[in-house]
């Protein structure tokens, strides 16, 4: 059977997110509890977590989480990294053996920073330099896969139910101000860890529930700009589109939401002149990045989180607030289990982005 990346696999899912606007760091227990409620929305073939604010002692370095299928792949990747980066620290990511998680690859973590003279010669900024290096590893080193590569954040994912993945990675030992989680229900058994969510590039992580019908149009469009979609998953393509639009085109996340879940022309036509012009421009300029078909996504980024539904709201997505904490989930139950009495609970409309960021005074 072909593994993920050789064949496109559709999947249903559960997603959940917790964001502490005051920058308060909480352990992974809550997010595990939340996603576990939606056990039957996944089928044991993929689960994962993204956490922000977990590496304060290394917050100025890029944190790489990497899967290796062999020692040879590790050696080759380390040689590759060593030539281009200063490796500040490296270690195996600590895991807890559990019978429900098997076939684990070698899982390593590196804190790195680009070698200054190479960075200067490359005429790139450090984000672009690092993202190119990681895309190159994924693209060209057999058996190596960079799971995440942002600063002060990391992705923990595996084949299994999300609550078991949480135990495996001991996520209760990490403390972050922002957490997202994913439980996957793919329509066949790829058994490849990299295929699980979250998907990430630099600080951006995406968990996604849905199957986009515009996939190949979006993939072929974003591949023009130097991305290569190795996994053939929707989440990967959404992540790259967001990276392209924010980092390379300079759009805000709200503007991104108006591109990928663009309002219908009929909606645009009743806006005031200024807004009509702005929204029409975004649709015309970035028409290849309109995403159709069902999706609900949680996008994690440095200091914030965005929740977004497709414009017809073909997937469930619930949001809630309690004090300084914001919750998102596929199901209300998954929020109630960790916050019984939220101040406010609502279902964001299709195409309406909910964006939360850290309060300024939080001092991050």
């Amino acid at each position: 059977m072909k593994k993920e990346g050789e064949v496109r696999i559709s999947s249903g899912c559960a997603i959940s997110g917790i964001f502490c606007r005051d920058g308060r760091r909480i352990t992974g227990e809550a997010i595990k509890k939340s996603i576990a409620v939606m056990h039957n929305r996944s089928n044991g073939l993929g689960g994962g977590f993204a956490a922000y604010g977990i590496y304060p002692q290394y917050k100025d370095y890029f944190a790489l989480h990497i899967f290796y299928e062999s020692q040879a792949a590790r050696e080759e990747t380390e040689r590759f990294l060593d030539k281009r980066f200063d490796i500040i620290n490296l270690s195996k990511i600590p895991v807890r053996q559990t019978p429900r998680i098997s076939d684990a690859p070698l899982i390593w973590r590196y804190f790195i920073t680009p070698l200054p003279h190479l960075l200067q010669d490359s005429q790139l900024d450090e984000d672009e330099y690092t993202s190119r290096a990681t895309i190159r590893i994924n693209d060209s080193i057999t058996g190596a896969y960079v799971v995440s590569c942002g600063k002060d954040m990391g992705v923990f994912k595996a084949v299994g139910y999300p609550e078991d993945v949480a135990d495996f990675y001991r996520i209760e030992e990490y403390e972050g101000y922002s957490w997202t989680a994913h439980g996957r229900y793919p329509t066949n058994t790829p058994g490849w860890w990299a295929g699980s969510h979250p998907f990430s590039l630099l600080d951006l992580t995406v968990v996604h529930n849905g199957e986009i019908s515009s996939y190949d149009a979006n993939r072929r469009a974003v591949e023009m700009y130097g991305y290569s979609c190795n996994l053939l998953t929707d989440t990967e393509v959404i992540t790259y589109i967001l990276d392209y639009l924010t980092r390379k085109q300079g759009l805000s996340l709200k503007e991104c939401s108006e591109v990928i879940a663009a309002p219908f022309w009929t909606t645009i036509s009743i806006k005031d002149e200024e807004e009509k012009k702005r929204l029409s421009y975004l649709r015309k300029m970035f028409s290849s990045f309109l995403i159709t078909g069902p999706f609900s996504i949680l996008v994690g980024f440095r200091g914030g989180m965005m929740a977004l539904n497709d414009r017809l709201k073909l997937r469930s997505l619930v949001a809630a607030e309690k004090g300084n904490t914001v919750y998102f989930s596929s199901e209300e139950a998954a929020i109630r289990v960790i916050e019984e009495n939220p101040d406010r609970i609502w279902a964001p409309r299709g195409g309406e982005a909910v964006i939360v960021t850290l309060d300024k005074e939080a001092g991050r």
Binding site: T187, S213, D216, A217, M224, E255, R278, P294, L314
Partner: protein, 494 residues
């Protein structure tokens, strides 16, 4: 040389309607209201059949056949005999008839949503078919307040991804132009003048008109260029790549002469190349000249025939400053072309779109230009497949003429079109009522648009831009590995 045989049965009431309808002289009145059939003049245009009040007339393939062998077929023999008699180049019209060249559209199958994502009902949910054609800048700009500045060059806005192909006044009648223009206006799409200029009576349709500049420069003047939504530079035509045009002096009469700016009775000859474009940098100069002449307010389209190296040609066009590339495939129609050229030169539009779209993506300039595909688009599913292969929109010529009555007898080059389309004979052109014609064109395009929405909805796609280049929506059958590779699609079941 007889090809068809005209027959009538006993229900004929000798009303002689067929005699007056036949423009080819195949049916004449004999003595005592009897009918005389000149079978050799019949083109099987079906005009008499359509108008016979009692259904008494039949046009059959003649049962007398040439003896064929495994090499020389009926048409080969007929053509040899004709050329031996006349010493001339064989003329033909409509699209190519290379029977062993596959129609790839028929070998592509579309996808639909099942279980893992929902199909969308176009009667209940919005389904968007609007397309914008034109250039896109590489990046956004913001003003000092951080607001996005509209830096998009002028675009064409189509309510449906179907437009009308270039057909010139001269090749077709003014009434056809009127019907196309009125239909384009009502549909919110565009019609194209072709190379014969724009009749003054059609100036009010300016917002929906694309004017063409071809190698003969017929009817090209400042007002012409500015009485349009876009200007198309015609380099080639799918039916006759590499060949110019020749409108006989017989058709250069009255308003045709005036509109084309060619003296009455003089042949209007379009040279094979533009004599000011011998290379790609010359094209860039013409594109810019036209933009200067129209004050950068209109997109410029460059139309080329699908030939072997269409991908690099398209790349060159994309870099010439053109906003839109129009590619006309092997099966594209014509009012007149040498038969050998029509049937043997160029490549099918399906392969051309796939190759061009892929090439422009590899060069990272696909988002910079838009692509219009034409040449053998017969129905809405052809249009959907063309867009999924990578076109932004399609244009239709022959299908539009069919809506106006054409029965594809492929005798346009005779100038005797019995349906009053490809002719300048005032008696014949009067047969098309432009208003009724426009209504039929509107019906056709609306019907196709409904079908496109239905197909898109089935695939769970609610906006046409999400279909563009979405090749996963396609699978092939009866295709070899190389064909699949060029088309960039998988085999059915894969």
């Amino acid at each position: 040389m007889r090809r068809y045989r005209i027959r009538k049965d006993e229900s004929c009431i000798s009303c002689l309607r067929c005699v007056s309808e036949c423009s080819f002289g195949a049916i004449e009145k004999g003595t005592d209201r009897s009918l005389v059939f000149h079978h050799d003049k019949c083109t099987d245009c079906q005009r008499c059949v359509s108008f016979c009040p009692t259904g008494a007339i039949y046009i059959m393939e003649d049962e007398n056949r040439f003896r064929q062998n495994s090499v020389f077929r009926e048409d080969d023999i007929r053509e040899i005999l004709l050329q031996a008699e006349t010493g001339g180049v064989l003329l033909s019209s409509m699209g190519a008839s290379g029977k062993s060249v596959p129609i790839y559209f028929d070998k592509l199958l579309l996808n639909a949503s099942q279980v893992t994502n929902p199909s969308i009902d176009p009667l209940r949910e919005p389904m968007e078919t609007a397309v914008f054609l034109g250039q896109r800048p590489e990046g956004i700009q913001r003003d000092q307040n951080g607001n996005i500045v509209d830096n998009l060059p002028p675009h064409l806005e189509l309510k449906t991804p179907i437009m009308f192909s270039a057909m010139s006044y001269g090749a077709i009648s003014l009434n056809v132009h009127k019907a196309l223009a009125a239909a384009a206006e009502e549909l919110g799409t565009y019609w194209n003048t072709g190379e014969g200029g724009l009749h003054e009576s059609l100036y009010p349709y300016k917002e929906n008109t694309i004017v063409q500049v071809a190698s003969g420069r017929f009817g090209v003047h400042g007002t012409y260029l500015n009485t349009a939504a876009a200007i198309e530079i015609k380099i080639g035509q799918g039916a006759k790549p590499g060949i110019g045009g020749h409108l006989t002096g017989k058709k250069i009469i009255g308003d045709v002469s005036k509109t084309r700016m060619v003296p009455e009775g003089l042949d209007a000859i379009s040279p094979a190349p533009h004599h000011d474009i011998y290379s790609i940098e010359d094209l860039a100069q013409l594109v810019m000249s036209i933009k200067e002449a129209t004050h950068y307010t209109k997109p410029v389209i460059v139309k080329a025939a699908a030939v072997h190296n269409i991908a690099p040609i398209a790349s060159g066009i994309a870099r010439s400053g053109a906003d839109i590339i129009s590619i006309d495939g092997y099966r594209g129609g014509t009012g007149a072309a040498p038969k050998r050229i029509r049937d043997n030169v160029g490549i099918p539009i399906e392969l051309a779109i796939a190759a061009v779209d892929q090439r422009l993506r590899e060069e990272r300039i696909r988002d910079r230009v838009s692509i219009i595909a034409s040449g053998g688009i017969r129905n809405s599913s052809d249009a959907v497949k063309a867009i999924a292969l990578g076109a932004d929109a399609v244009s239709i010529g022959t299908a539009a003429l069919c809506a106006l009555g054409c029965h594809i007898c492929a005798s346009c080059h005779t100038g005797r079109c019995a349906w009053g389309l490809a002719t300048q004979d005032p008696v014949l052109t009067g047969r098309l009522d432009p208003e009724k014609g426009a209504a039929r064109l509107v019906n056709l395009v609306n019907a196709w648009t409904r079908e496109i929405k239905e197909i898109m909805g089935g695939m769970g796609i609610n906006s046409i831009e999400a279909l563009k280049g979405n090749r996963l929506a396609l699978r092939g059958v009866d295709l070899n590995a190389k064909e699949l590779e060029v088309l960039g699609i998988g085999y059915a079941g894969e």
